[in-house]
C-alpha cells in the first residue's frame, strides 16, 4: 500500500492506495498518529485508490477516534470503492466515522 499527503487550506488530506491489510496497516497507523500529533483542524482520508481493506485497516481508524474527539479534530473518510464501502458497512462503522462519497463533500463538511 501507498500513502500520500496533500494539504488543502486547513485540511490534512491522506490518500491511501492499494491494499490495507494486517501487513500494511502499520503504515497507515504511523501516518494517522503523525497527523493527530500535528494538531490538524481536519483530517480526511481519501480512499479512492484503496483497493482492499480488512479489519486491521479499519481498526487503525477506530483506535484514534477517542483522541480525535478529545482534540476536537474533524475526521472523515471519503470516496471508497464499492468493495471497501461494503466492509465498512457490514461492521456498521458509519455510526462512529463520518463518510462522504466524494472528496468535495468531505471538504465542504470540514469547513
Amino acid at each position: 500500500m501507498n500513502l500520500s499527503i496533500e494539504r488543502q487550506a486547513n485540511v490534512y488530506l491522506l490518500h491511501v492506495e492499494g491494499d490495507l491489510d494486517a501487513s500494511s496497516s502499520i503504515i497507515l497507523d504511523n501516518a494517522m498518529q503523525e497527523a493527530i500529533q500535528r494538531n490538524e483542524k481536519a483530517i480526511i482520508v481519501n480512499c479512492e485508490k484503496l483497493n482492499y481493506i480488512s479489519s486491521a485497516g479499519l481498526g487503525v481508524f477506530m483506535s484514534y477516534l477517542s483522541d480525535i474527539e478529545e482534540k476536537n479534530i474533524f475526521f472523515a473518510l471519503c470516496s471508497m470503492n464499492e468493495k471497501v464501502k461494503n466492509v465498512f458497512d457490514i461492521l456498521g462503522l458509519g455510526d462512529l466515522i463520518k463518510y462522504y462519497p466524494n472528496q468535495d463533500l468531505a471538504l465542504q463538511a470540514a469547513k
Binding site: D19, D21, A22, S23, S25, D29, Y52, S54, S55, A56, L58, G59, V60, M62, S63, Y64, L65, S66, D67, E82, K83, N86, V87, I90, L91, G92, L93, D95, L96
Partner: protein, 146 residues
C-alpha cells in the same frame, strides 16, 4: 475440485492468498462484492492465526482448503499452532467499547461471522480446523444451465 494453499505464518503471504483466491473466484464468475467478502474472510482468519497462534513464526505452516459443492462455498483453515480455540465463546464486537479502549483489533471475527453462514472451529489431531461456509445460490443456477 478442491484447491489448497499452504503458507508460512508471515503477514506478507496474506496478499498471495488473496490473489490466489481472486483468480479462482473470478474464474467461477463470482461477482465482485461477494468475491471480496469471501477473500476478506480468509484474510481475517489467516491474519488472526499468523498473529495470535503462530505468533509470526515463519517456520510454522497454515493450510487453506477451498471447495464448492451444490452452491455452497467451504473454506477449511488448518491451524497446527494453537490449543483448542473455542469460537463459541467469542462475542460480537462492541464498537463503543473498542473506541474507548483505543484497541486496533477486535473486529475480525465479527466481520467473518457476519459474512459467512456457518463458522465453526473443531479440534482434531492437535489441529484447530476452521470451517467456514456460505451458500451462494446463483452458483447452483449457473451449474444447472451447463
Amino acid at each position: 475440485m478442491q484447491y489448497n494453499i499452504s503458507i508460512k505464518a508471515e503477514k506478507k503471504n496474506l496478499k498471495k492468498v488473496r490473489t490466489f483466491l481472486e483468480n479462482i473466484f473470478t474464474q467461477m464468475q463470482i461477482p465482485e462484492l461477494e468475491r471480496n467478502q469471501l477473500i476478506l474472510v480468509v484474510d481475517e482468519i489467516l491474519a488472526n492465526l499468523i498473529i495470535h497462534s503462530a505468533k509470526n513464526d515463519i517456520h510454522k505452516n497454515i493450510d487453506v482448503a477451498f471447495y464448492e459443492k451444490e452452491g455452497e462455498i467451504t473454506f477449511e483453515i488448518y491451524d497446527y499452532n494453537s490449543p483448542y480455540f473455542d469460537i463459541t465463546q467469542h462475542k460480537e464486537v462492541n464498537l463503543q467499547d473498542l473506541k474507548k479502549q483505543k484497541r486496533k483489533g477486535g473486529m475480525g471475527l465479527t466481520l467473518v461471522k457476519n459474512i459467512m453462514d456457518e463458522v465453526e472451529v473443531y479440534y482434531k489431531d492437535n489441529t484447530n480446523i476452521w470451517r467456514l461456509q456460505k451458500r451462494l445460490p446463483f452458483l447452483l443456477l449457473k451449474n444447472k444451465s451447463k
